[in-house]
């Protein structure tokens, strides 16, 4: 518990003595580094990555012991990597510093000695009384003391916190809401007790003690409705006063920020597994060579022939120490098999590649002027691996543009224009109904008409803008005038109760309770009214996909009201479990209603939503709709957007069914139905779409889900879940209705952790989707939550853009990065394996085959750019084709290009090529002359020949894999080869004065002057590439994938078109 003295005034003596606490100042520090600690801290951070640490160790080993390669060969690349990363992180941190400074120096008004003072935000301290004006953001977490509005309320949007851009009402503390100016505020004498800072945005419990002269202090409970969070913005309220309770890094926003977890992509995981495999290969290679070395050296004339004596210290060294150093030296020699540059290249590819997404014109929304947003480029390729899409309905699949369609009062149906003409308000019930609608809301009339982005009411003559926390309400209110009532209590809306109530006193002194909410939460509480008629109407509307809302009321006597008031007061004052107690009280109050009627509001589907869903399903992605709406409404939407089709057999797993049978039976029945079919056919998870198969659609509601998720008494909780998952797996579409936000996340988690570990994507637009978005592998936020974009990994303007994002961009990203990863390992196997083979011919002495410059530059410059640009530009099939043929997405599903088979193929190809290089060169050189002047070549020429073949083969292999040759690819691929040749000519063309060896002098030129070397290079390149070409052609011819068929088809069409045009 922390205690705060409002305005830093000590409580009057005699009250409990508090231990003074120290609070941090209001400085927000999101930056990781300072100017001074950047270098050490950043280095530390970077070397915590396993790969970097590994390279550091290699580098240190090279420095310490006598190793075959100079420390430069691994030090330079490492330095490069570290520097690039450090610059990137430093730049990011600099941006953060700038943002922090802007935040921390933002001027804040607060009261000091009865005067308003302007100070920098960072100087704010706990206990300060702060004034915030309209449209300003709160500088820290404040307890709301008073407002310029008479009723002591204010409106805020928490768009930047949770994505909810609607206006929320907050209430000033009762005892202080009358204080309207600085002097009055300064006179306030109070302490606040509250909990220690917690990250939950919606929970807050505290108490304020206000001291009036010498009297006993009055205690008031404080709840989240009194708390104004840092980051939220004051709206529609001129100014407010508040006292700072949490500052700086203790604000809820800061606490939330820190809690964000890191997501890792499937490709990254595969990459790490491959890395471990290669590490094992590396260690075993080093071990084999060490052992062989000592076996081979056991004869002294081999260990130390007369022509090659050791130095004294070498001779004296302990055998085990020597063996260990040899082992390390072999490790160093072969360490390039795990490429440093792969990490840089992968990072660059992801970072730069993500720009193509943001640049995409087709994904730009003209209406809002927004394009897609990439918050983390780490997950790009995951977009090509999605197996489950969880989508919110309202606002994501639908427009979230509410149109009032009709209302049903006492069984009579009215349509809007009738209402607006004002001709119907003669019946008493109708009047009551509209009264209820008008009263039972938290809509505020915004008189300011300068706010843009809000459509002005078309019906009302005045330029009024209605703002509310629920879109339904505004739609209803706009046509109807306000009545004069006195508001007594608000039983606010929550997603568990799914209803809200108000208690009002009419001008005649009658007290009414109006309640409005979802039909399922109203009907059980109704005792009279034309229930059946209205219910049938409500159900009809729901089937048509309309949002329905029921309205009911009851009249309270004065005694009843006072009882209710007391109950509410007690509950609100509770310090602990306040929400639970409030819920209990609400439950007690909201009963025995008289049903008034129902309204229906239409929410239209977003454009191309159906098309998108169809495409996703064709792509083998299972689409789940998670919504809070009622089943009928949601099901209608699902039919409209083609999630369910006419021939889809709907399986229901709803509360109603479970009431009839036990959950156990329902589940087993369903699984029987589903498995009967899939059992007889091949159990391909993706075959759910073939026309000869029965399509299943599952509908489940929140209550049924919580039953399934609930662990059973006997501890066999997994049972139902497994069964449920089994059913889901065989359904092409699942609709989850009546979901609470947390249940959405639960569902996602359930699927994510099921035994296949599918990749999930969640897309939503509001605060209620944030938890689901954070849970899923990839989270996408649509329209409403633009401000909450940092919770999502990607943001797109419209649902329809999901199609291109997954089918085109995701597919490309995946194909590109998987080739990149495989290719990197391949080229380093090719690079290092000849080195390994050479050890058998140099007495296991760790002699390098290649020159130091080649060792260093191979990954940095000779072979780096072509693959990077392949990773950015490759399009194995055109984007249009991918969009037109969603089924191509299945070709890369389940990490297809990085499976073990593919990995082993690449590795063996690398080994084969390496064997070809080495033994090809060996046979070419073995005990013969390859020059026309009879002169001999040495070991460096031998290595250079192998290296030349290597560079050419590896680059040409990439060229063979490239399907999309833009001028950039041409430039990079041929440019790399030219660069290699030019570099080699230069490197061998000069006696380099700063080097202590000149072993490469004229080696490359001499090699080029030899005919057999040329012939050998051409031969070896051909032989190395041959198997891969053959494999490609045969696979394409005999077992073509869908992608390959399409490629061929398009190829021939293009050829045909070309032939026709040329004729």
């Amino acid at each position: 518990i922390r205690t705060i003295y409002v305005g830093h005034r000590e409580p009057p003596p005699g009250t409990e003595a508090y231990i003074p606490q120290r609070f941090p100042d209001n400085r927000i520090v999101s930056s990781k580094y300072t100017f001074w600690n950047f270098v050490p801290k950043n280095l530390f951070e970077q070397f915590r990555r396993i790969a970097n640490f590994y390279f550091l160790i290699i580098f240190l080993v090279q420095l310490i012991i006598d190793t075959p390669t100079s420390p430069v060969t691994s030090g330079l690349p490492l330095l490069f990597v570290i520097t690039v990363t450090a610059i990137k992180q430093g730049y990011e941190d600099w941006l953060r510093h700038k943002a922090d400074n802007a935040m921390n120096q933002y001027p804040v008004h607060f009261i000091q000695h009865g005067k308003l003072v302007r100070k920098q935000s960072r100087k704010l301290r706990v206990g300060d009384i702060v004034m915030v004006k309209e449209d300003e953001t709160f500088p820290c977490d404040l307890i709301f003391l008073s407002s310029s509005r008479e009723d002591g309320t204010c409106f805020v949007t928490t768009a930047s916190l949770d994505g909810e851009s609607s206006h929320k009402t907050h209430y000033a503390v009762q005892d202080t809401k009358a204080f309207h100016n600085e002097q009055e505020m300064d006179a306030l004498h109070a302490t606040i007790e509250c909990e220690q800072p917690q990250p939950d945005l919606y929970k807050f419990v505290g108490r304020i003690n206000v001291y009036h002269d010498r009297n006993e202090p009055t205690a008031r409970p404080l709840g989240s409705e009194n708390l104004l969070l840092r980051g939220a913005t004051l709206k529609n309220t001129e100014k407010i006063f508040g006292v700072a309770i949490y500052t700086g890094m203790e604000t809820k926003m800061a606490l939330n920020y820190q809690a964000k977890s890191q997501k890792r992509s499937a490709v990254e995981k595969s990459m790490n597994v491959f890395l471990i495999v290669y590490l094992c290969i590396l260690i075993s290679k080093a071990l084999i060579n060490t052992v062989l070395k000592y076996v081979w050296q056991s004869e002294p004339f081999r260990d130390e022939p007369w022509y090659n004596q050791k130095t004294e210290p070498e001779r004296k060294r302990n055998l085990f120490l020597r063996a260990f150093t040899d082992f390390l030296a072999f490790m160093v020699l072969f360490n390039y098999i795990i490429p440093v540059s792969m990490y840089v290249t992968v990072e660059m590819q992801k970072f730069l590649g993500s720009y193509f997404l943001t640049w995409d014109e087709e994904m730009f929304d003209e209406d809002t002027g927004e394009g897609p947003l990439v918050n983390t480029s780490d997950l790009n390729e995951e977009l090509g691996q999605i197996e489950y899409v969880f989508t919110d309905k309202t606002g994501t699949l639908t427009e979230n543009n509410m149109e009032f369609v009709e209302c049903c009062i006492e069984g009579h149906v009215y349509v809007p224009h009738v209402i607006c003409n004002g001709q119907i308000l003669h019946d008493c019930t109708e009047e009551l109904f509209f009264r209820a609608l008008c009263l039972c809301h938290t809509v505020q009339v915004k008189d300011d008409d300068s706010v843009d982005g809000l459509k002005k009411s078309q019906l009302s003559r005045r330029s009024c803008i209605y703002i509310s926390s629920s879109p339904d309400e505004v739609a209803l209110v706009e046509g109807i005038q306000r009545y004069v009532f006195e508001l007594l209590e608000v039983l606010s809306f929550d997603s568990v109760r799914r209803r809200m109530s108000v208690i009002v006193r009419s001008s005649t002194g009658h007290i009414f309770l109006f309640c409005k909410g979802a039909d399922s939460s109203i009907f059980p509480r109704v005792k009279e009214g034309k229930i059946d008629q209205i219910r049938s109407r409500v159900e009809r509307n729901a089937v048509e996909g309309l949002r329905t809302l029921c309205v009911a009321y009851k009249e309270l006597t004065a005694e009843e009201y006072s009882k209710v008031q007391k109950l509410l007061q007690n509950a609100k004052l509770a310090l602990q479990d306040r929400e639970k107690k409030l819920a209990e009280v609400y439950e007690k109050i909201e009963r025995d209603f008289i049903l008034l009627g129902a309204t229906a509001v239409e929410d239209r589907l977003q454009e191309k939503a159906a098309d998108t869903i169809e495409a996703l399903q064709k792509a083998g992605i299972k689409v789940w709709v998670l919504t809070g709406d009622k089943m009928e409404t949601a099901a209608a939407t699902c039919y409209a957007c083609k999630l369910f089709r006419r021939n889809t057999q709907i399986l229901e797993l709803t509360t109603k069914k479970i009431e009839e049978q036990s959950l156990h039976d329902v589940l087993f029945d369903l699984s029987k139905t589903v498995l009967r079919h899939s059992g007889s056919l091949t159990r391909d998870t993706f075959s759910g779409l073939s026309t000869d198969m029965q399509d299943y659609g599952l509908i489940i509601d929140g209550a049924a889900l919580s039953l399934i998720m609930k662990p059973r008494q006997d501890g066999s909780s997994g049972n139902y879940r497994e069964l449920f998952l089994e059913i889901c797996r065989n359904c092409s579409a699942v609709l989850c209705c009546r979901m609470a936000p947390l249940q959405k996340a639960q569902i996602v988690k359930l699927i994510k952790l099921s035994k296949e570990h599918p990749i999930t994507l969640a897309i939503g637009d509001g605060a209620n989707d944030v938890s689901m978005i954070l849970e899923a592998h990839v989270g996408i936020i649509g329209k409403e939550g633009r401000q909450a974009a940092r919770n999502s990994d990607y943001a797109i303007p419209k649902f329809k853009h999901l199609k291109k994002m997954l089918l085109v961009h995701g597919h490309f990203y995946y194909v590109r990065i998987s080739e990149l990863v495989q290719y990197f390992f391949y080229k380093n196997v090719c690079f290092i394996f000849p080195q390994f083979l050479y050890q058998f011919f140099c007495g296991f002495s760790q002699q390098t085959l290649y020159d130091t410059a080649y060792l260093t530059l191979y990954n940095i410059s000779f072979t780096s750019l072509p693959i990077l640009f392949y990773g950015l530009m490759e399009q194995h099939v055109s984007a249009d084709t991918l969009k037109r043929e969603p089924s191509l997405y299945r070709d890369v599903a389940k990490n297809a290009l990085l499976r073990w088979r593919a990995f082993i193929y690449w590795t063996f190809l690398g080994v084969f090529d390496a064997v070809v290089f080495f033994f090809g060169a060996y046979l070419l050189y073995d005990n013969t002359v390859v020059t026309s002047n009879g002169q001999m070549f040495g070991n460096w020429t031998f290595g250079t020949l192998v290296f030349t073949v290597l560079v050419f083969t590896v680059t040409l292999k990439l060229a063979l894999d490239t399907h999309y040759w833009t001028w950039i690819n041409h430039f990079m691929i041929w440019g790399s080869l030219v660069f290699y040749v030019v570099f080699s000519l230069l490197w061998g063309g000069i006696i380099w004065p700063f080097l202590n060896y000149q072993r490469m002098y004229y080696v490359f030129m001499q090699m080029l002057s030899s005919g057999p070397a040329w012939l050998g290079i051409i031969l070896l390149i051909t032989v190395s590439l041959l198997p891969d070409v053959l494999k490609k052609v045969l696979c394409r011819q005999l077992w073509p994938t869908a992608t390959e068929r399409i490629q061929v088809k398009i190829f021939f069409i293009l050829k045909l078109v070309f032939c026709i045009t040329s004729l």
Partner: protein, 373 residues
């Protein structure tokens, strides 16, 4: 008439941004973009591109072409290689019957050197220029400790390195506190057998002129290897303060009588200093030039090889050979390249045929099916 509502379309951000923590640490690609992206071909990934694919149809001709090119090349190389005359004598002397058997266990400093003579007969005459090589087996010139045991600065004539050789030369860096020139294991173990060739014509031994220049790379002889510089051209003076490699009988400035083949620029020395790639290697020893166009360089007939046997190889199981070879445009005798070319060419040709069959048998399945001809 419908009532339109769009309360949630609050598009613009809040003045101060409201967010203290800018984008994730991962550094996403997107800053907030409010403007429409440029419609450039690059940004829209629509750059004009050549989109080749490897199908049986497209690869087929390539296979045939490779086959058709490689096979003739292979045959050409093979024929050339077969036309090369090569004669090799192992004079290690491990067999007791060998004339050099007596010298098997010589040491470096045996004076006078052990000499032996091996007679041999050339069945065919060597028409063009003949190159004389010495070959060593089981000699690890590519051992790491050996390869790095040299000082290129010293060999390049750098005076400071001459007197203070690189540490890499250990343990052949100094001797009796004097820097060794040339330092290092490579120089120290320089091959020092002397080979002389005689033609035996009716019991008369005619020496064959062996040319000792032009056996090293031109760049090595003229750029990479330089004698130390100083006043005058007296090598003895220039190498003042250094000592000879331990195993050498005489210092480096006494390798040859001709000044342009003495010291570091002695060609035998330069040839030796180019370390071989594999433990079995040969090095160019002498050239035998063709005198005139009427006579072959080496006629068929009897010859004798006189060897001053100084170089011990028995201790490490090594072998020593003398090789006489003619050279074509593609070097010495090497059947590998020709055979490899013929094999690869044939395989390509064969694969071409296989692909042709496959293409015809399965080709219709996925290509021309939906495309009218």
């Amino acid at each position: 008439m419908a009532v339109n509502y769009s309360a949630k379309e609050e598009a613009d951000g809040h003045p101060s941004g409201g967010v203290g923590m800018p984008g994730g640490g991962a550094g996403g690609g997107g800053a907030v973009k409010t403007r429409k992206p440029d419609n450039t071909a690059f940004k829209q990934q629509r750059l004009p591109a050549w989109q080749p694919i490897l199908t049986a149809g497209t690869v087929l001709p390539a296979f045939f072409i490779i086959g058709l090119i490689f096979i003739p090349i292979g045959i050409g190389i093979f024929v050339t290689s077969n036309n090369i005359r090569e004669y090799e004598i192992d004079y290690t002397g491990t067999e007791p019957s060998s004339p050099c058997n007596k010298c098997l266990n010589v040491s470096w400093d045996s004076t006078p050197p052990c000499t032996c003579t091996i007679n041999f007969t050339l069945e065919h005459s060597f028409e063009s220029n003949v190159f004389m090589y010495y070959g060593l087996s089981n000699f690890y010139q590519n051992h790491r400790r050996y390869v790095k045991s040299r000082d290129d600065s010293q060999l390049n004539g750098d005076n400071s390195s001459l007197l203070n050789p690189s540490k890499e030369c250990e343990p052949y860096r100094t001797n009796e506190d004097k820097p060794i020139a040339p330092c290092g294991a490579i120089a120290n173990s320089m091959f020092n057998d002397t080979l002389e060739l005689y033609r035996i014509d009716n019991d008369t031994r005619t020496p064959i002129t062996l040319i000792k220049k032009g056996i090293a790379w031109w760049t090595d002889k003229n750029v990479k290897f330089r004698n130390p510089t100083g006043d005058g051209n007296n090598l003895t003076a220039l190498f003042q303060g250094t000592t000879k490699p331990v195993n050498w009988p005489k210092p480096v400035y006494m390798l040859d009588s001709e000044p342009d083949n003495n010291g570091f620029i002695n060609e035998d020395f330069i040839v030796w200093m180019r370390t071989a790639a594999l433990p079995t290697f040969r090095k160019l020893y002498r050239l035998i030039e063709r005198k005139n166009n009427l006579q072959p360089t080496l006629q068929a007939g009897k010859y004798s090889l006189d060897i001053a046997y100084n170089y011990p190889v028995h201790s490490f199981d090594g072998r020593k050979r003398m090789i006489l070879s003619t050279i074509s445009w593609m070097g010495g005798k090497n059947p590998f390249l020709g055979i490899a070319y013929i094999t690869v060419g044939s395989i390509c040709f064969f694969l071409g045929v296989v692909l042709l069959i496959i293409h015809h048998k399965y080709g219709n399945r996925n290509t021309s099916a939906d495309i009218p001809n």
